[in-house]
């Protein structure tokens, strides 16, 4: 190895730059989320049913990712559908993370979080989710009933589609819309999680 190669090799050594840059990047992300330069902030939290993600814009919570939703995909969708200026900023989402954790632990029945409805298409979709948002802890409705609440009693299938596309599960409690009968039906987070949530709230049909 020539002297020049040895000097090159030494210059390439980055010392503790990787660890230091991780801390600096975290500090940057929080600052960018706080100033609004980053238009979307996201964070994760651990729950008894797995890792859940949550994202917010300066207007409020814009998306919740249930445990079956891979984080990479969750973040890419935020970038594509809202803004690529997305950073991970758990500090910015402190309140949302706390309230969601409490809910999953059975210690919270409703949320005091501002919501951003950007990802909800307008029209009937929005009416269905607005009606769903009014359901209290432990209350359930059938797809037909929620369609009626949203102003179109015959549109129970469309109501199902709107609920399946809910970007704000848990905080807009689409798990409270169930099939008539014993099987509560489909859920974006998977039918098992729907049963778990209904059981948590004491409303699983027996």
């Amino acid at each position: 190895m020539s002297d020049l190669d040895a000097i090159e090799a030494q210059l390439r050594g980055q010392g503790d730059a990787d660890q230091s840059s991780l801390e600096l990047a975290r500090r940057f992300a929080e600052a960018a989320a706080a100033s609004g330069d980053a238009e979307v902030a996201f964070a994760t939290l651990d729950t008894p049913v797995g890792r859940t993600s949550v994202a917010a814009t300066p207007r409020g919570i814009v998306s919740v990712g249930l445990p079956n939703h891979p984080l990479d995909d969750f973040v890419e969708r935020l970038a594509t559908q809202i803004s690529p200026r997305v950073v991970e900023a758990p500090g910015k989402l402190d309140l949302a993370r706390r309230e969601l954790s409490e809910f999953f632990e059975g210690d919270r029945r409703d949320f005091d979080l501002a919501l951003d409805w950007t990802l909800v298409p307008g029209g009937f979709y929005r009416k269905v989710l607005d009606a769903t948002a009014k359901l209290g802890y432990g209350e359930v409705m059938t797809y037909g009933e929620i369609a009626r609440s949203a102003g179109n009693p015959r549109a129970h299938r469309a109501a199902g589609t709107a609920l399946g596309a809910n970007p704000l599960p848990i905080v807009v409690p689409c798990h409270r819309i169930v099939r008539a009968g014993k099987d509560p039906g489909n859920y974006g987070g998977g039918p098992e999680l729907k049963r778990w949530l209904l059981e948590l709230e004491g409303s699983l049909p027996t």
Binding site: Q10, G13, A31
Partner: protein
Amino acid sequence: MSRLPFQAFLDEHRTPVLAYLRAMVGPSDADDCFQETFMAALRSYETLDGANPRAWVMTIARNKAIDHHRSAGRRPLPKGDDLPDVAAPARAEHDPELWAAVAELPERQREAVGLRFAADLRYREIAGAMDTTEEAARRSVHEGLKKLRETVMKEER
């Protein structure tokens, strides 16, 4: 507009950006330049479209390092009098003498060496960041390395 989430961009480039800034402005001031670099990158993220991301962010980092030297009222090509910065403890375990010697190189060589080895850019990308030709970038790096070898050998004697 680029649709890659900014967080992924940040994760990809944070370490070479910090290594480069440490080489250019020293470890204690590198932290501020790091924040300024990524804030500027975030604000102009749409201009990345189609460009080489590593070369793009290093061009921003280079401008921040130059601004930093100007606002600190220093010569744009810091020499021996900036040594305390560069030799500060944050990089003590990784060749402080060598990087102190880098800080003493003439400006073009110093930047070229930083972009080549700390930022890990190709010569074509260095030429883009420094607004020069690939050949000139290669020559600056080579001359810088030769000068470093002289310094290192002098110290060993």
